[in-house]
């Protein structure tokens, strides 16, 4: 499953980040390395972008890129 498959507020764990190199590198630098816990906190008006919570900070990325982040669900939804 990808980040998009997580329900809002559901805890997931990063398995793999793919996508364009500079974007992927930046996400990895921000701590979204495999094993890191992440939540989708909300979706912006018009359905995009998403707000993520990971490592005690808030990030926003778009749906298209969120689909490149493979996760496993950790907690219940």
């Amino acid at each position: 499953m990808t980040l998009l498959d997580l329900k809002i507020g559901q805890l997931g764990r990063v398995e793999e980040v793919s996508g364009e190199r500079s974007f992927r590198r930046r996400l990895l630098e921000l701590g979204l390395v495999p094993g890191t816990e992440v939540r989708v906190l909300r979706v912006a008006p018009f359905g995009d972008p998403l707000e993520l919570g990971a490592r005690g900070c808030r990030l926003s990325i778009r749906r298209k890129e969120a689909a490149e982040i493979r996760v496993t669900a950790v907690g219940p939804s």
């Binding site: 590198r25 979706v43 008006p45 005690g56």
Partner: protein, 727 residues
């Protein structure tokens, strides 16, 4: 005898992630007036300042502090990101730093330590400033414990209270004086990666080589930064080739590097046994539930914008009237006190009028920047980028570009400079071409003048007409800018869109200090621009409109009595007897002037927009800067009726009549004129900055031509369409 050897002070570099309070700490250490904001990437310029470190032996050591743009990593893709590495290593002409200060957010330690890990690898003496510990609460580590694990000094700091500043400077100075630092923290990279690093080290240019650790750190930097798409400069071909070769091996270097670093960081943090960092985000979370909600968030956003713009007009008006009256009084005083002649005319009709008509708009500028400061400092600016991203993406820009565009509402010049925060050249270029379409503060004077003079102070469905018109102009500009971005992004400035990564910093109570500091800076900036470009242009135009001079002796004879008449009565008093004759003479002089001749030459071209030659002359003047339109119009009418020059320009415009007695300025002409001003690129400063940022004349020329064409077309449609509809 002791010989005094003048030595340059040690250079201290402040490095850190965006939004960790770095600039605030820099200000508190140096007492400098650098700007502080709460939007990621607000620190764009290189700021420096001096500070004295008090050593344990009682002596003071002078330090030169440099504030480096905030960054999450040394790895770079663009030339701008490369600045951090260049500054840290002292590449180019900049002084080599003696000590680095890594400013970290105590509540976001893992992410901040990612940068610290890279700085440690460079083996430049390092001090960690543990910032925002109060905000982090139980998530903040004990500085001593962190120091033990990292093997570099850790000092708790607070940029707002000044806490830890002295200790930070002292420990930094001690490091500069002392033996090489031996950090304990180190990242164990996989064996295969280390072998690759050694191969890359062999290809480093000799000038970059130093000790083994730094060579490896630079090899790491090269491996994670270089590829065929990067925009980095001065990278030797040999190094590029070697990196390409290593990357071609098929291993996932980026993942290996970041996972190794985070592995080491997570292990370190586990030893610190910190509290939950989510704790501090509770308030932010509660606020975001409302402010980022698809419905209430959008409503709040629109309301916030409406409040900002209505306030600009409701609150600024009393101050504007006060300034207008003061300028009138000064002009009258000068005319009475000084001997008649060309110098007095220059002073009164050129200098005082020009400067006065610019100062009059300070209240609005201050208010606008008050709001911008609050938005940035509170963290809401990043939310605006989040809320607007979907719309911005449709234009081929990302949410982050909204901030330069929003800054464009104040002034295109800083907004164009702010495009540096964008990662890609293409995004920068597109934003630069669109920003001048935003309603910059220099256009506000024109809008205010026209709306104030030509539209009634009543209300429409319970809302004030003038405020609605103003909001309407902003919305119009927004739509046109978006259309322009959409078209340009698909024609002249093509390129693929780049993914968005936006940090949403925690909300913080906006502080008045930094906001007031910014307001002061912006006001000073506006005034200094007014003092140079605008004043010079006003004087040149005064000359254009005054020469060749004819029949001035008669006009001068009339003057004292007219002035007496104006001085003792209110500005709306009927004109003194001899003024009609003077008027015609003065008008005749203006008719013959070089400027008016040019205006008349342009009149046929501008007539379809509803503009007469006086407006055309004002537009000519406005090419120096939009706000010059005001002083030119004042000058145009000031010359036309000397006795009447003390009247505020608004009244004068209302009274202006065509030959057939019809008012020159109908609301439709006003609208057409506002639209022309909204879209035409009449700002030399903007063009100059674009020239500098794009390094050539191509883009400023393009900007000028496309905006002027757009302005003409839109005004034409509005005026002709409005006339057909009977307005």
């Amino acid at each position: 005898m002791n010989q005094v050897v003048p030595t340059a002070p040690d250079v201290l570099l402040l490095v850190g992630n965006p939004n960790v309070g770095k600039t605030s700490l820099f200000n508190s250490l140096t007492g400098s007036r650098a700007r502080v904001g709460n939007y990621p990437g607000i620190t764009v310029d290189r700021r420096s300042g001096r500070a004295g470190a008090r050593l344990a032996d009682g002596t003071t050591r002078e330090l030169e502090l440099v504030d480096v743009p905030g960054t999450y990593s040394l790895a770079a893709r663009s030339h701008e990101e490369q600045i951090t590495l260049g500054a840290v290593l002292g590449m180019g002409s900049k002084a080599r730093p003696s000590v680095l200060v890594a400013v970290v957010d105590a509540a976001q330690l893992s992410r901040c330590l990612y940068l610290v890990a890279q700085l440690i690898e460079l083996r430049i003496p390092l001090v960690v400033a543990l910032n925002m510990a109060d905000e982090a609460g139980r998530a903040a580590p004990e500085p001593a414990a962190l120091e033990r694990l990292l093997g570099v000094p850790v000092v708790t700091t607070n940029g707002q209270t000044g806490l830890g500043g002295e200790e930070l400077l002292r420990r930094a100075a001690e490091l500069a004086l002392g033996p090489p630092q031996l950090p304990l923290f180190h990242v164990p990279y996989p064996e295969a990666l280390r072998r690759d690093l050694d191969r890359v080290v062999e290809s480093l240019p000799p000038a970059w080589r130093s000790n083994v650790e730094r060579d490896r750190a630079l090899a790491l930097w090269a491996l994670s930064s270089l590829d065929e798409h990067d925009e980095l400069v001065d990278i030797p071909v040999e190094l590029r080739d070697r990196v390409t070769e290593v990357l071609a091996s098929g291993r996932d270097v980026d993942l290996e590097i970041s996972a190794s670093r985070y592995g080491a960081i997570d292990a370190l943090l586990a030893q610190l046994e910190l509290g939950d960092a989510e704790q501090r985000l509770q308030v932010t979370e509660r606020l975001d539930r409302v402010l980022l909600h698809p419905v209430s968030g959008f409503v709040a956003f629109l309301l916030a914008m409406l409040v900002v713009f209505q306030t600009l007009f409701a609150w600024a008006d009393p101050a504007i009237s006060l300034i207008e009256r003061a300028i009138s009084s000064l002009q009258q005083f000068l005319v009475e006190a000084l001997p008649h002649g060309i110098l007095t005319d220059l002073l009164v009709e050129g200098v005082v009028l020009g400067v006065g008509n610019v100062i009059v708009f300070l209240p609005q500028i201050l208010l606008l920047f008050f709001f911008i400061g609050l938005l940035e400092d509170s963290g809401y600016m990043a939310r605006i980028a989040y809320l607007m991203d979907r719309i911005m993406r449709a234009l081929g820009l990302h949410g982050r570009a909204f901030v330069p565009l929003l800054s464009g509402f104040a002034c295109a010049v800083p907004a164009i400079l702010a495009t540096r925060t964008l990662e890609r050249k293409r995004d920068k270029l597109l934003t630069m071409m669109v920003v001048p379409l935003m309603t910059c503060s220099a256009r506000l004077p024109v809008y205010t003048l026209i709306i104030g003079a030509l539209f009634p102070v009543d209300s429409f469905v319970g809302l004030p007409t003038q405020g609605l018109l103003m909001v309407g102009m902003y919305v119009f500009r927004l739509i046109i800018s978006f259309l322009a971005a959409w078209v340009l992004g698909r024609t002249a400035i093509r390129g693929r869109a780049v993914p968005l990564i936006l940090e949403l910093p925690p909300y913080r109570r906006p502080r008045l200090g930094p906001t007031v500091r910014m307001m002061r800076e912006k006001a000073a900036q506006f005034l200094s621009e007014a003092g140079t470009v605008i004043l010079a242009a006003t004087i040149v135009l005064w000359a254009l409109l005054s020469f060749p001079r004819a029949g001035e002796n008669v006009a001068s004879d009339c003057r004292p009595s007219q002035l007496a008449g104006t001085a003792k009565s209110s500005s709306r008093a009927p004109l003194p007897a001899c003024s009609a004759e003077s008027n015609s003479r003065q008008s005749a002089r203006l008719d013959n002037s070089y400027g008016a001749r040019l205006g008349k030459t342009l009149e046929p071209a501008l007539a379809p927009l509803g503009f007469d030659w006086k407006i055309a002359t004002g537009i000519i003047g406005a090419f120096a800067a939009r706000e010059v339109f005001i002083s030119t119009m004042a000058l145009v009418y000031g010359i036309g009726e000397v006795d009447d020059e003390a009247l505020p320009l608004r009244d004068r415009i209302r009274q202006e009549r065509r030959a057939d007695g019809q008012p020159v300025y109908t609301p439709l002409v006003g609208l057409s004129l506002m639209i022309f001003f909204a879209l035409a690129c009449q700002c030399m400063s903007t063009l100059a900055v674009v020239k500098r940022e794009t390094n050539g004349y191509k883009w400023p020329a393009f900007l000028f031509v496309y905006m002027t064409a757009l302005a003409y077309a839109c005004s034409f449609i509005v005026y002709q369409g409005g006339s057909l509809l009977g307005f």
